[in-house]
Subunit: 306 residues, 4 copies
Amino acid sequence: MPGPMTGLIPAPHTPFHADGSLNLDAIALQAELFRECGLDTVFAGGTTGEWSSMTLDERRAVAERWREVGGDTLKVVLHVGANCQADAVALAAHAREIGVAAVSAVAPGYFKPTRIVDLVDFWEPIAAAAAPLPFYIYDFPGMTGVSLPMSQVIREARPRIPNLVGLKFTNSDFVEIQQCIRLDDGAYGVLLGFDECYLVGLALGMTGSVGNTYNYASPIFRRIDAAFAKGDFEAARREQRIAVDMVKVLQEFGFQAASKAVMGMLGVDCGPVRPPVRNLTRAETLSLWEKLSPLDAFPRPLRKPE
Amino acid sequence: MPGPMTGLIPAPHTPFHADGSLNLDAIALQAELFRECGLDTVFAGGTTGEWSSMTLDERRAVAERWREVGGDTLKVVLHVGANCQADAVALAAHAREIGVAAVSAVAPGYFKPTRIVDLVDFWEPIAAAAAPLPFYIYDFPGMTGVSLPMSQVIREARPRIPNLVGLKFTNSDFVEIQQCIRLDDGAYGVLLGFDECYLVGLALGMTGSVGNTYNYASPIFRRIDAAFAKGDFEAARREQRIAVDMVKVLQEFGFQAASKAVMGMLGVDCGPVRPPVRNLTRAETLSLWEKLSPLDAFPRPLRKPE
Amino acid sequence: MPGPMTGLIPAPHTPFHADGSLNLDAIALQAELFRECGLDTVFAGGTTGEWSSMTLDERRAVAERWREVGGDTLKVVLHVGANCQADAVALAAHAREIGVAAVSAVAPGYFKPTRIVDLVDFWEPIAAAAAPLPFYIYDFPGMTGVSLPMSQVIREARPRIPNLVGLKFTNSDFVEIQQCIRLDDGAYGVLLGFDECYLVGLALGMTGSVGNTYNYASPIFRRIDAAFAKGDFEAARREQRIAVDMVKVLQEFGFQAASKAVMGMLGVDCGPVRPPVRNLTRAETLSLWEKLSPLDAFPRPLRKPE
Amino acid sequence: MPGPMTGLIPAPHTPFHADGSLNLDAIALQAELFRECGLDTVFAGGTTGEWSSMTLDERRAVAERWREVGGDTLKVVLHVGANCQADAVALAAHAREIGVAAVSAVAPGYFKPTRIVDLVDFWEPIAAAAAPLPFYIYDFPGMTGVSLPMSQVIREARPRIPNLVGLKFTNSDFVEIQQCIRLDDGAYGVLLGFDECYLVGLALGMTGSVGNTYNYASPIFRRIDAAFAKGDFEAARREQRIAVDMVKVLQEFGFQAASKAVMGMLGVDCGPVRPPVRNLTRAETLSLWEKLSPLDAFPRPLRKPE
């Protein structure tokens, strides 16, 4: 059973007030936007959610609010990873208590496992603390510096993590993703986290996709889905290029902060990013708006920043 | 005009005698196999062709023989790159004289350009020496250590290299390949050189594909083409996985040498690879045969090595 | 004023019980060994101290115990860094309250600053929370993936972090360390963290050295100091080679875990390392002992593990 | 016997005319400058000599001219490496014929050996073709991408390359250099190629140093030698910093081209660098002069460029 994550899944930003403190109220606004876009699952507390810049109490508070706001109509998958295994175990247990749909954990990135068994040793008690909730591996070598072949990691983890159902694969290795997708005849959910290559994921048979841009630009990907379903690759590529263009613009300003700024332009003010990520200046935000607003990407018109 | 390279294009090995000297006679056998497989173009003198391990005289001799053997029915695209620009210019002029279909050159890999303009400065006289033959950029950052965004390189090269028609993209950056494919509404030929991701290239709209494994395993890719044309992605992925399996086996033994050994199993003895690449031992060759022969990949049965 | 860290400074392991829980009692044994070796400062809660594998409460408990055990005769410099700025600020404030000699913080390693100003923005409130305690930058690109030129970072930080007194430089860039040492005529303390190159640090004028191996192998480095002071480079190199040999052996078994095992052989049982770092097996520990015990490196005979 | 290379050894630029063609006449001017500086050995045809941008005929012509100009008073060590083993063998045989003092070869950088034995296999016939001339390994991972532990490479090569006498170590791994220096009680000459860390090499016991900046800035290094001999580390570091400052300026403009421009300022016009390396503009050359001329580094006043 490849787990509860399928299709298009936004990884929501954690909303902060202008002073950097947690703004739990904005979560309802995020959920409203997602429902409006027909999205039914969120991957909360991940990289876009700035998990590594939050205290444990804040992470728990965000999880609880997502759970409340999600109710019965928005599944919440929660990232509980941490460099400190005990912290991750505590978050996993809390996730189980509040009853999310599934949990996920990133590899530890300070002491970086170089052996597959050590990585599974790290995850095993975290997954156990969340059981019987489904557990997803979260592979993001670009952030953690841990680069191990995930199909082999799953093989090692299989007998030791019974609630393992899949992985979020934020990785550009399109050979390895094929190896993960085919494992045990598709027994594991494989969620690509590389929005500019969504079409590649469809071609290779991904289970779904978790991404930052699905927060605010899901219409592009809906159109890619539709074109792909009809076998209209010209149209699919044309749409995919809009995503590429959008991401290139965001990267120019700092992807993480710029994507958070876009939320504000959609009427969902998620506030600033936390250090060490840099926020856009007012002038940069305006320039970002000028470059993005011509794109046919967003579910609502982008409001010009004040 | 996106140039003469389309579809499936093998990058032939350079055949050597057992003592390492050039074995020009085997080129006819290679051509025979390619024709048997319905292949109509070769990319000679590239990485699989061990260009960097050959003298200039040897490279010219190989080019001439391919031209003869190719005749009117097998187009020859010739790699003429070198770290020494004057060497590459000399090879390009020779290629023009013998009348190949197109030439291509890799980036210099000892002094590595870090600015786009410097890379174009390097290629400009090489392409000019080959004119009016079409010129293809050969991007292979894994070998050269030169990693520049090729869509921007093409933009810079456009006005200065009038015979530029496309690029061989041996690179795993599937965002950048999208940028190359869309340039000037598809004006440039984009040939992916990543056989394990052939299906990805099809989905993204590549012009064709140049690869090592097309020497001996083209049937897999013909079947991917057919499945893709019918929109049967299950079948396409199944075939793509055979290619992945095959490449994993080859890599286990050293990709370059193992692929050359496979040619021998098909009755086209291309001899050893040259140093610093290591040849398989007799036992390894046998083990390679045992692992590969069950795969439905090859146009002829694999002969058991003696 | 280059701060309180000079000379040879061990970075102590955090002692755990066999079940992985904190073993605060062993800290007195560590301090006893250090005093026996004539060491007067410790750098606690750093990489060797497995900071990233500990909860905040554990980090505070360790700090307090070191402060108690250190008393007036063993200066405690405390690492308070964390990926979450608020966590680091809280630890810095706690460090000030318990009155350590200085604090230090590593760069955040999940979101990796690529601009100098962003890194200083991250550290500024942490250093402020510790003020008036002296603050040391902790540069360890091999762990954090943050690789910025520290002499320029110090220039940026100078006016914004008034309590900045130096840096712990766990980095192999021996050009950059020269730039740090010369800054403002030696105004900043520069502590090399590269034990196998201790002699290099002496030659270049480091203020001192913070290291893992000074926990258990300080006699080697005392002899290097003595040889260097006499200008006897033959002797200094001979001693340095013992350190290299020792580190090569430790690396063979996993540096972090093996070095902790050595503590046990000296009668200071610090227990296992935490995941994701792997502990030595019993057989490996014996093999480690066999390889290390011939070396003239340790202040006490190495006890054979049971 | 650690070979003929000891002390300070410049790696001369290959002089070209303004049109890029070889300017053999300037070699006498280079030699004159070196003699004036008391230098008695050159390492010709290496990286500074732009070997990879030259044809084989040009490399032979340069070698012959250096041999003539060097006569009995300037030892010529010749780099004969190439990606093509046969080319390197031919150059090695030519070097033997013209009677240079020693030869050296870099690792092949297109096909990059990852096993020590493969690298030694590559070098063995090259060294044999030069025998009985002494042979030096030339390790430059920053250019070749081949990063193998040289002390182990020497161990493997020892029985197979009887004329092996040492290595040119252009590598920042100061642990590995210690391992090379100590091999067989100092049996191998170890020449550091990292001018900004010359003092480090002295402290660790290098046999000598081969570098680009010794072409034009040997006075700095003579002063470091003198200070080191007296045990005056303050003075040695002060001088070393001049070298660091100089190299930082050169790097700002492109190290290879800027260093060639400095030769012209010393009255030894070596002309432009070849593509893909970029030459300085007139304005940049002037700016380079302005930044370098205040430094107490050069054996002659730097002439202001026209």
